[in-house]
């Protein structure tokens, strides 16, 4: 009876071993990431071995007792190996967090990821310009609020459509042209910019856009991020600037035309007026009374003055319309040239004009000569009771710019008038006292400004005036040129 129970209980235990082995094997096959696979495999092997030995005990005849003993020994070794392996992983297994703690950690991580996802979504959603996400085939996957607002389509009408729906029909040619560059971008992770495109609004109107396309590669798929910039404002500004430039060019052309007309057609009748007035006076001398002669003089004087004004205006127009050449100029030579041109005025006024050491600057030699000539001429004209003394010098300022000074001992200029003297046709004195057109200093200012400098006055009425102006320096290598030329002349 007891024996019967023992055999049956042995069978039950043996079946339990089988189930245990199969479960363990299933677990190990399915959970390839199980951290204690070696130990598990050894336990499995031990279980199989023990099962086998148990089965053999029932089935094998007594004659094979020896083989049974050997397999029993193998099973025993496997069992102890399994024990050893399990013993070794126990500390590691103990170190594993318990499941509820792990769950908590995972939940926290998931919440954190959700927050990050939400942040990323909001960044895209609230970006100040339209952002469209498309798949590799150019189908829209996601759009943001600005896309809806800019293009006038509701989100639902865009998602799933081709990106072409945002383009005017003439630019849609999906496969061959791919204006959004979406398909190309999917293959080229570098990102690209496409300019001079047009967006199509829901109402059919178009607006100029520029887009940036960037492939977004994830482990699941490749998406294309298209950032769209509405460049209407920029294009409008560009167009306005171009219009302005065209107008300027046209008005410059008009000015050149005016200059030609003025030099011929405007002066011609004036010359007639003055010539025939003079002829009248010459021919009918004695037949006119004093008043008659004086009137004729006024007429002649008026036409001469107008002729001088036209000439001065032409000079000013010439400075404006001409592109002044910018090359290294020896300003000393320009100054000496101006003094030569003024030689008779210098002699007449008994002036002493001194030109100090002057630098090589960047500019137009003709215009610089005219600048010195107008300023020195001015000093000679507005002289005081004593013979004029005019000195020209230059100081290098900290930023490398040259500051020139033309100093005189003349009548000076009231500080309140310092800006006025540079305005065209502005005069501070009557023509009888100091003749002139009132344009000379305007020309000076124009020349200096066209050279990128500025001009100003320091003056004490009754003591003298200094005209200061700044000019850019010549590049270092060019400054030595005059010296080299001088050497050449010696040869």
């Amino acid at each position: 009876m007891l024996e019967g129970i023992s055999v049956e209980s042995g069978l039950v235990a043996w079946m339990a071993w089988i189930v245990l082995a199969v479960s363990l094997a299933t677990f190990l096959i399915q959970r390839k990431d199980f951290p204690f696979r070696v130990a598990g495999s050894l336990v499995l092997a031990a279980a199989i071995a023990c099962t086998g030995v148990g089965l053999a005990g029932y089935l094998l005849p007594a004659s094979l007792a020896r083989a049974l003993q050997i397999s029993g020994a193998v099973a025993a070794v496997l069992c102890w190996l399994a024990v050893a392996a399990v013993w070794r992983v126990i500390p590691k297994a103990l170190a594993l967090p318990n499941l509820s703690r792990m769950n908590e950690l995972l939940q926290g991580e998931i919440r954190e990821r959700q927050r990050a996802n939400e942040r990323s979504r909001l960044v895209v959603e609230l970006a100040p310009y339209p952002i469209v996400m498309a798949n590799q085939n150019g189908r829209i996957v996601q759009v943001n609020a600005q896309t809806e607002q800019c293009f006038g389509h509701p989100r639902s009408a865009l998602v799933g459509q081709s990106v072409d729906v945002l383009l005017p029909p003439r630019l849609r040619d999906g496969q061959t042209r791919d204006p959004f560059g979406a398909c190309a971008a999917a293959r080229d992770p570098g990102g690209r910019t496409v300019k001079d495109l047009f967006g199509l609004r829901e109402d059919g109107s178009e607006f100029p856009i520029e887009i940036g396309v960037q492939a977004v590669v994830t482990d699941r798929d490749v998406l294309v991020l298209i950032a769209i910039v509405d460049v209407t404002q920029q294009k409008n500004t560009e167009a306005a600037l171009k219009k302005l430039a065209d107008e300027l060019q046209r008005s410059n052309g008009d000015l050149a035309q005016f200059a030609y007309v003025a030099s011929h057609d405007l002066k011609e009748p004036l010359r007639k007026v003055s010539s025939f007035c003079q002829l009248l006076k010459d021919r009918y001398r004695g037949q006119l009374d004093a008043d008659g002669n004086r009137y004729i003089d006024y007429a002649v004087d008026g036409s001469h003055r107008m002729s001088a004004l036209i000439t001065a205006l032409l000079e000013l127009a010439h400075i404006n319309s001409r592109t002044a050449s910018s090359s290294p100029v020896d300003s000393g030579a320009a100054c000496r040239g101006a003094i030569d041109n003024l030689s008779s005025a210098i002699e007449d006024s008994g002036a002493d004009v001194r030109c100090g050491e002057l630098p090589t600057v960047l500019g137009d030699e003709g215009q610089l000569t005219q600048l010195f000539q107008n300023l020195i001429g001015n000093a000679l004209k507005f002289r005081g009771p004593q013979p004029p003394v005019v000195t020209v010098d230059a100081v290098r300022e900290e930023n490398g710019i040259w500051r020139f000074g033309v100093h005189d001992n003349g009548i000076g200029i009231d500080p309140a008038q310092h800006q006025r003297v540079f305005q065209i046709f502005q005069r501070l004195h009557t023509r009888e006292k100091y003749p002139g057109t009132g344009i000379g200093l305007s020309i000076c200012q124009r020349i200096v400004e066209r050279h990128g400098g500025r001009i100003w006055i320091e003056s004490t009425p009754g003591r003298g005036t200094t005209f200061y102006f700044t000019l850019p320096p010549a590049p270092v290598h060019a400054e030595r040129q005059p010296a080299r030329e001088a050497v050449c002349h010696v040869h």
């Binding site: 030099s263 011929h264 002066k267 004036l270 010359r271 010539s275």
Partner: protein
């Protein structure tokens, strides 16, 4: 024997001034006037109403003229082997660098700007006479 001067000038007032200026000189000159470039070439080639015209000693040429400008006429004269030896003095109100250089490029013999002042103009005409009609030997 007076010297023939041919003046190409469309403005009667200028023609009048030139007559006045020449009248003051002691030189025996004869002034003929054509009113534009087309007539100037007809005159020189003795065409139409100028069939009996005499070849001038010098030509005084205004640049701004109707039908054919002074510059065009100048270019044509200097291209024509029969005419190119006649000295051409460009006498104009213009003092633009472009007009000056263009005139000399077209082989003008001299470029003179008319002064605004009458007496300076008379002086200038006297100077032209003294140089071109007295000092210089004409072909």
């Amino acid at each position: 024997m007076s010297i023939d001067i041919l003046l190409a000038e469309d403005d009667p007032a200028d023609v009048c001034l030139m007559r006045e200026a020449l009248a003051q000189s002691q030189l025996p000159t004869h002034l003929n006037v054509v009113r534009d470039g087309v007539e100037l070439l007809e005159y020189l080639r003795q065409e139409g109403e100028h069939a009996t015209a005499r070849r001038p000693g010098i030509i005084l040429l205004d640049l701004n003229m109707p039908r054919k400008s002074g510059a065009e006429a100048l270019a044509e004269i200097k291209r024509d082997p029969a005419l190119r030896s006649i000295p051409v003095i460009v006498l104009t109100t213009s003092n633009s660098r472009d007009d000056v250089s263009r005139s000399y490029e077209l082989c003008a013999n001299c470029f003179v700007t008319k002064p605004a002042d009458l007496h300076l103009f008379f002086d200038l005409v006297r100077l032209i006479e003294r140089f071109w009609l007295e000092a210089a030997t004409l072909p």
